[in-house]
């Protein structure tokens, strides 16, 4: 060993330097846990009120540490996108990365500042976090949602639309649809939680078809859609999209544009390919059974499509000159172009369904004839009559039903276009007729004078938000919170409508029972009053005998869950059963078709067994 260089030897007193540390504050901390930092990632917290059980945390978890636990005591509401389950966390897996917090669509998950858990009991490392924290001691919140940390894209891709000035006087389609690139971007926002699937009356496989769009495989997407819905063109445009109401992304941001994505899928696949995809699983052999369906609306045609694919011989009877029902005669062309309905129906016809138009039940063909020709009959005649308010003066010829006027517009039947009109009602039908009329008025007079009178307040409107916004752009006036009092008639001429202020719509039991302030009266001058407060069915074609044979419940035909009536050969579907809306009609159509098929094949099997 070499000698130490003199330079480093130092003074003998040098160790005394240590004395200077004697009075320093010690670095040693007391032996108890310090409070953790404000953004500390400790044990999980979960706000059960906010959590909807979407399981996105489970999907993002690196370590498969999250399990969803079904808790029957919790509320379940598929329509609102709430499932009775909550995440449980395995602290034998968790790495405290907090990606689950950053992705949580509702913002219910966060991390606490609690970090100590010591135990021999392995079971104690599997916990169901709530707001109390791991040990029921409310530690303050640590890492939580932050706008930078948020991993979700809360803004949807914008839908290109025709500007108001270009669309206000014609019936060309407003929404232009996503191009494939935009559709893929929009599809990428989906977190595949499946809330949409649960909320959809037809339980469409939305997560699957959205995923296929994200992968750029539009044909696969169409195949997924056709598993449950033969009207993608229609539903891609005018569906009430309950899926989007339930969408988890919509809890804090804008829901995934599921409806537009469906449209993008079919828009980007050529018609012949769509037909090939839709009929891929068509039965090779005929069953020899015949089914007659009354009414070529969405329910009837869905059932027809299903049954035809199963090998039955299906004939659909339709009163109007073209098939489609309310989709064609109730929805204006600017929302749903007729060629789009035709495209969907072409697929159904390609499955072998025969559609006989201009054939009215009770006039051109009777129920007895149908029964004679077919092994089973499905009624899907829908709600074809507008309801009346029955206020004084509502029997005046210038008081019209919205459904009736909409059908006339589609049929091209002339009627006197009023220079000014009021529409009673706050739903989508009210806006359909108001906006159609506005277009006709602009063409005829160059100006618009249509007023929609809704019972509901602005924030509780039944109509879609975009209807309200777009109608205002087109010049339609909206007055909220007014109930109709009477139609004002001078001589034979209709002068307008008097309304009163609506105080409340529902009674304590939640039944429809509006209360009015009779002193607050308002007069709306108009040449025409249009009632758009709902529709009802006209089943006079059934004939007396059948009407008597059938069991009824509150004015509707009594049916079982699958749509079978008390008469063994008769089923019902569509708005007659549930709704009114297209997707519910499709759902009931599927159910009826499945029930009919089971009944018919059961018969065959029974006969073969003999």
């Amino acid at each position: 060993m070499s000698d130490i260089a003199p330079k480093y030897k130092g003074s003998m007193l040098r160790p005394l330097k240590a004395l200077s540390f004697l009075f320093r504050e010690p670095a040693t901390l007391p032996m108890r846990p310090r409070p953790a930092a404000k953004v500390y990632r400790g044990f999980h917290l979960n706000d059960w009120e906010k959590c909807v059980g979407c399981a996105t945390c489970q999907q993002i978890c690196d370590n498969d540490a999250i399990r969803m636990v079904h808790i029957p005591a919790l509320p379940s509401d598929p329509a609102k996108g709430i499932r009775p389950r909550r995440p449980a966390i395995d602290y034998g897996r968790c790495c405290w990365c907090a990606l689950c917090v950053d992705i949580c669509p509702t913002g219910s998950l966060s991390m606490s500042r609690e970090y100590i858990h010591v135990s021999r009991d392995v079971d104690s490392y599997f916990i169901l976090p709530d707001e109390e924290g791991m040990h029921g001691v409310r530690y303050p919140q640590g890492w939580a949602k932050d706008e930078n940390a948020d991993l979700l894209d809360l803004k949807r891709q914008e839908m290109p639309e025709e500007p108001p000035q270009e669309r206000a006087d014609n019936f060309s389609e407003i929404c232009e649809g996503y191009d494939p690139q935009t559709a893929m971007l929009e599809a990428s926002r989906c977190i595949q939680c499946g809330m949409c699937h649960d909320a959809c009356p037809a339980h469409m496989h939305a997560p699957e078809y959205i995923r296929a769009i994200f992968e750029g495989d539009f044909e696969k997407s169409v195949a997924e859609i056709y598993r449950t819905n033969p009207f993608p063109q229609v539903c891609g445009r005018v569906c009430t999209h309950r899926c989007e109401t339930a969408c988890s992304i919509g809890k804090r941001g804008e829901p995934v544009a599921i409806r537009w994505l469906k449209r993008a899928a079919v828009d980007n696949v050529p018609q012949d390919r769509t037909i090939a995809i839709a009929l891929k699983d068509k039965a090779k052999t005929k069953t020899g059974k015949r089914v007659a369906i009354a009414g070529a609306g969405p329910a009837g045609l869905t059932a027809a499509f299903d049954l035809a694919k199963l090998g039955h011989e299906v004939t659909v009877y339709e009163e109007k000159p073209r098939p489609g029902g309310m989709m064609r005669y109730g929805i204006p062309e600017y929302r749903l172009p007729y060629e789009r309905i035709d495209a969907d129906i072409a697929v159904i016809e390609a499955a072998g369904v025969k559609i006989r138009c201009n054939t009215k039940l009770g006039r051109d063909v009777t129920m007895a004839q149908l029964k004679g020709q077919a092994d089973a009959v499905l009624l899907s005649t829908g709600l074809n009559k507008g309801r009346s308010t029955r206020i004084p003066g509502s029997d005046h010829p210038q008081v019209r039903a919205a459904v009736d006027l909409l059908a006339r517009i589609t049929l091209g039947e002339a009627f006197d276009i009023p220079a000014s009109a009021v529409v009673i009602g706050g739903g989508n039908v009210a806006f359909d007729i108001a906006r159609s009329l506005a277009r006709l008025q602009r063409r005829a007079f160059g100006k618009v004078e249509v007023t929609v009178l809704a019972l509901e307040e602005r924030d509780k409107m039944l109509a879609d938000e975009e209807e309200v916004i777009e109608s205002a752009q087109e010049g339609v006036k909206l007055i909220n919170g007014r109930g109709p009092k009477q139609v004002v008639i001078e001589g034979d001429a209709l002068k307008g409508l008097e309304t009163v202020k609506c105080l409340s719509i529902f009674d304590e039991q939640g039944r429809f029972h509006p209360r009015y302030d009779e002193t607050d009266v308002m007069f709306h001058p108009a040449q025409m009053v249009i009632e758009a407060i709902g529709q009802m069915s006209d089943v006079s074609f059934l004939g007396e005998d059948l009407t008597e044979q059938l069991e009824w419940s509150r004015g509707r035909i009594r049916i079982d869950e699958a749509g079978r009536t008390s008469v063994p050969w008769l089923w019902a579907a569509g708005d007659l059963v549930k709704g009114p809306d297209v997707i519910s009609a499709i759902a009931t159509g599927h159910a009826a078709a499945a029930s009919i098929h089971a009944a018919l094949m059961g018969e065959t099997e029974a006969r073969e067994a003999k």
Binding site: V69, H70, P72, A73, R85, A88, D123, F126, I127
Partner: protein
């Protein structure tokens, strides 16, 4: 982004070489297997690419190939050249460049261990990390680690009281 003229000059001397810029101070060179040692030698001798930063191996199982990527850095040119070579997955044999770049010994040994590629002339092809491992080279794409784990290990079946309580009420863990 472009390839510096000096580098281009050198690359042009060798046959069957494709080069393109791949970002700031990055050049990608694709070279046939037999041309790589000469390329590395030339880069080292002429342009100062003396630092072998890493050798990466990629298993392109569908093409039946292993891709070997030699990342060399020149302190002079301040440039990273990644030389890509594709060799047949079977039998998976290549030559060692240990004589050109000494660090190659470590990476080749690692690749041999993880992918099963044999390097002729390497100083050591012994196991280093996986001495307790008897299975196939784990980094190969046909080795499924998740499946292996499921077959080899068991997970805790947690039965905490709160879970038993929920199960009594008809709930439980969803699959």
């Amino acid at each position: 982004m472009s390839i510096p003229a000096r580098l281009n000059e050198v690359l042009n001397e060798l046959p069957a070489i494709q080069a393109r810029p791949a970002g700031a101070r990055r050049v990608r060179v694709d070279v046939a297997p037999q041309g790589l040692p000469a390329l590395l030698e030339l880069l080292k001798g002429r342009l100062g690419f003396i630092h072998l930063s890493a050798i990466s191996c990629v298993d392109w199982i569908e093409d039946g190939q292993f891709e070997l990527v030699y990342h060399v850095w020149s302190h002079e040119m301040k440039l990273l050249v990644s030389c890509h070579v594709r060799i047949a997955r079977e039998p998976g044999v290549y030559v060692s460049v240990h004589d050109i770049h000494e660090p190659a010994g470590f990476f080749e040994r690692d690749i041999h261990e993880m992918f099963g590629v044999h390097f002729d002339g390497a100083p050591s092809m012994e196991k280093f990390i996986l001495t307790s491992w008897e299975g196939p080279p784990p980094m190969r794409k046909d080795f499924n680690t998740r499946k292996h784990v499921e077959e080899t290990f068991e997970w805790v079946d947690y039965r905490p009281d709160w879970l038993k309580d929920i199960e009594r009420k008809g709930g439980g863990i969803e699959s």
